[in-house]
Amino acid sequence: MAEKLVVMVTHGTADPELATIPFAMAGAAIASDVEVVLGFQGDGCELVRKGVAETVHADEFAPLGDLLETIQEMGGQLLVCSPCMKKRGLTEDDLVEGAEIVAAGRFVAEVTSATNSLVY
């Protein structure tokens, strides 16, 4: 896995398609032997709250719950913005397995060490 892709997720349940596309890109990248970091900011944080991903399914895309499970199973990292969580009353216990609470410094470190990054 020489290549690394960072995918930032900023849309939540209000926009199922834009919530799903970053997960689809991340899934395709992991399947292509690319290391993947998914970063959640703003409303994107809703998607890594336990039980939420399973409720999102954009037409013509794989269900978000399946995509999240694939990404977790295949070693993708899930990084969640700390102030965005606080603003939404989320705590560490609310997050899905493997999600890590981070702040801007870590996102910068991930993006600057990645081959490429995408923002949705």
């Binding site: 689809a24 890109m25 899934g27 395709a28 992991i30 399947a31 292509s32 032997d33 690319v34 013509e60 895309f61 794989a62 399946d66 995509l67 694939t70 295949m74």
Partner: protein, 81 residues
């Protein structure tokens, strides 16, 4: 070589799966094969027509051939070294 002459070591039915699950399942199925072995993949996602060749290029696997059968897209992939 015509498609009927290709010897297949494993088959993956990805019909009905949406983007990006056909290549996710393909990646998993190829992990089970030894270099040189052949996977037959059947998908109905239109995106797989472009996705599977791109995936092969990225991952160093060989796309032996691809064709359509009714509403399905059929691919034969040989695992790279």
């Amino acid at each position: 070589m015509t498609q009927t002459q290709i010897e297949v070591d494993a088959e993956l039915d990805a019909r009905g799966l949406s983007c990006p699950m056909p290549i996710v399942k393909t990646a998993k199925a190829m992990k089970e094969l030894a270099p040189g072995q052949v996977l037959k993949l059947v998908a109905t996602d239109r995106g797989s027509v472009a996705d599977v060749p791109a995936w092969c290029t990225t991952t160093g696997n060989e796309l032996i051939e691809q064709h359509e059968e009714g509403d399905a897209f059929v691919f034969h992939l040989r695992k790279g070294a």
